[in-house]
Amino acid sequence: MMLYLVSVVPLVVLYLLGIKLLVSQVQWAYRGLLLIGFNGLCLSLAFGLGSLLWEAP
């Protein structure tokens, strides 16, 4: 559990930085798609990490 929590913190920081970057730098008309994709990727990673690390000692 601890290993999971320790790994998720940098993921959350990277997520927030990524969202900020996408919102401020990308001017594409469909940039919403990038936000959706990035959000989905981070959330999948959070659950993927859970599956790998939750039971780890």
């Binding site: 469909y30 919403g32 959330l43 959070a46 659950f47 993927g48 599956s51 039971e55």
Partner: protein
């Protein structure tokens, strides 16, 4: 949409919900409390319902609430999001705003109601001695995945509803049937094996089962199912977004 507008719309949503009532926003706390008390009393005391494999008197009530609280947030988000463009027609025609992010105030509003209900439920679990497992830390993430899925479906229907008004009734029927396709009132184990094997393809089962595992059995959720939920929710959201962009001009004209 800027955050100020989002908070203002959410605040107004709560004000509209309880406008004219003496207790006002206190109903946000009272409703889940009454709901829970009624279910606990009716199922545990009046009907004597028991959760299979549990000796705990309120076991069935606790099981029921573990599924019902997230389902209510999920279904309400879909139902309300799917009519948001028509409901907010006067506002949309007056204020220039981003329509894809407009339903976010509903997601936020339903999330507040969910977390208030959850808080009451957790207090009940702790007071009654059921307790909470460590896997509880996944609840906010599961809720986020579930609400993105609800937002995606609601947004898709909201775009189509501008052109096909009957969809409001269709959504109501689908949500009603969908509720019974989830093991919320009944336990999945009582279903025939064939039905149980089909049940795992129901996306709402993925998160309902996760809450039940966390609150009832104090186990980690099924992460594979949750990744499926995230992928499905985001794919539908992406499709809804592209469809909306293609139809945006027509949507604004029809409104």
């Amino acid at each position: 949409m800027n955050l100020n507008l989002l908070f203002e719309l959410t605040k107004r949503d709560f004000a509209d919900r309880y406008s004219g009532s003496i207790l006002g926003r206190l109903w946000v706390f009272l409703w889940p409390l009454i709901n829970m008390a009624v279910y606990m009393v009716v199922f545990a005391k009046v009907m004597g319902a028991k959760l299979p494999g549990s000796t705990y008197a309120h076991g069935y009530g606790v099981y029921l609430m573990a599924g019902l609280i997230p389902w209510t947030a999920f279904s309400q988000t879909i139902a309300r999001t799917s009519t948001v463009f028509l409901d907010k027609k006067p506002l949309i025609s007056k204020v220039k705003m981003s329509l894809p992010t407009l339903p976010l105030y509903i997601v936020l509003s339903e999330s507040i109601v969910f977390f208030v209900s959850l808080l009451i439920y957790i207090v009940f679990l702790l007071v009654s001695g059921v307790g909470l497992g460590q896997s509880f830390v996944f609840v906010p993430l599961i809720f986020l995945a579930q609400q993105i899925f609800a937002y995606a479906l609601g947004f898709l229907v909201a775009t189509l509803q501008v052109f096909i008004r009957d969809l409001k009734e269709v959504v109501g029927v689908i949500i009603f049937i969908w509720f019974w396709l989830n093991p919320i009132v009944y336990v999945a184990a009582i279903l025939p094996e064939k039905i149980q094997s089909i049940l795992v393809y129901n996306p709402s089962y993925w998160f309902i089962d996760a809450y039940q595992k966390i609150f009832i059995y104090q186990q980690a959720p099924n992460f594979t199912h949750l990744v499926y939920l995230v992928v499905l929710g985001h794919v539908i959201l992406g499709v809804s977004y592209v469809l909306f962009k293609k139809l945006e001009k027509d949507v604004r004209d029809f409104l």
